[in-house]
Assembly symmetry: C2
Homo-oligomer: 193 residues x 2
Amino acid sequence: MARWQPGAAERLQAAALELYLARGFEQTTVAEIAQRVGLTERTFFRHFADKREVLFDGQDRLEQAFLDGLAAAPPDAPPLAVVAAALTASADFFPDERRRWSAHRQAVISANPSLRERELLKLAGLAGTLSEALRARGVPDPTATLAAESGLTVFRVAFTQWIAEGERRSFADVQLAVLAELGAMAAGATAPA
Amino acid sequence: MARWQPGAAERLQAAALELYLARGFEQTTVAEIAQRVGLTERTFFRHFADKREVLFDGQDRLEQAFLDGLAAAPPDAPPLAVVAAALTASADFFPDERRRWSAHRQAVISANPSLRERELLKLAGLAGTLSEALRARGVPDPTATLAAESGLTVFRVAFTQWIAEGERRSFADVQLAVLAELGAMAAGATAPA
DNA sequence: GTCTATAGTGCGATAGAC
DNA sequence: GTCTATCGCACTATAGAC
């Protein structure tokens, strides 16, 4: 028999989310999380940089999905269309089966300012990656940054709606609807009478 | 003579920014900041919730400026135009004399992820306030959220440009240029060929 | 795997302003 | 007397150093 069970990181994540949900983020100590899966505090910090980080992984894969979708867009597509392609590619990460889990995780995050901070930093990182990729395609600043940030805004708004009570549409569908709404809003403000 | 000098919070802020700039945020202890202005650690935490917060105040006044500008927009203005009015009102907070100081402060923040997190939380708070105000004007979601978030994106991009080396335009001018660029980008993506 | 610095909190005491 | 700013001390947990 193995000296330690495999999947330490995954077990720590599961235990952390449970405890954060049950008694709140601040009321949960790292020692408790580690103990629950038979590990030590020290081991927790070997896997995750800090107590918050345990809720934010898989970000790399989401980022890669964005980049893949972006790369698949036609070379001459306008910036916002390129971003839309990236967003579409990300929809695979949010199948209907994941909706409940996403809602739980989001509830924990939304309830704690320090977790909100970390979430915003991660999303800002995604926006930075996207705008960087746009610049690599030849889109100049500030257009690249504006397009990337707008894309992330669509992503966030769509995600919030997707996990809302009673929402039935797929993440992809919600995202398309929000994207259309963004276009309408921008057109409404710029269209001459 | 008074037992304590007035303006404790202001003195703590000044000392904190100096030390953060000189030796870095993490390398500076709260005890050092407090000692430098003749106060104790405990008093620092009476004025600021945590070590980061000392760099983020006056946020309330900026928020109020946004709201005032927003309230001054005509009732039938489209959402993004209302947001533009709020942005314009905020320009008073960034006169040319403040450009250098803003750049220094931003350098400290940008150099530290934990400060970036706090900054993003504050900006998200502003966006939340704006979208709330739009909803109060009768703008439905998700348009209200999209307009508010887009406005903050413009604000952030403009601010970054305003403090960039060699930039001479006023904050108001930069912001207008970015706003126009956002309109062009949105139009470019939605306009049929 | 242990040891330690530091952030941050709770409660109480003190000293001045009014 | 009340109110408020400050300080002192004990304490926990995070996070990093050794």
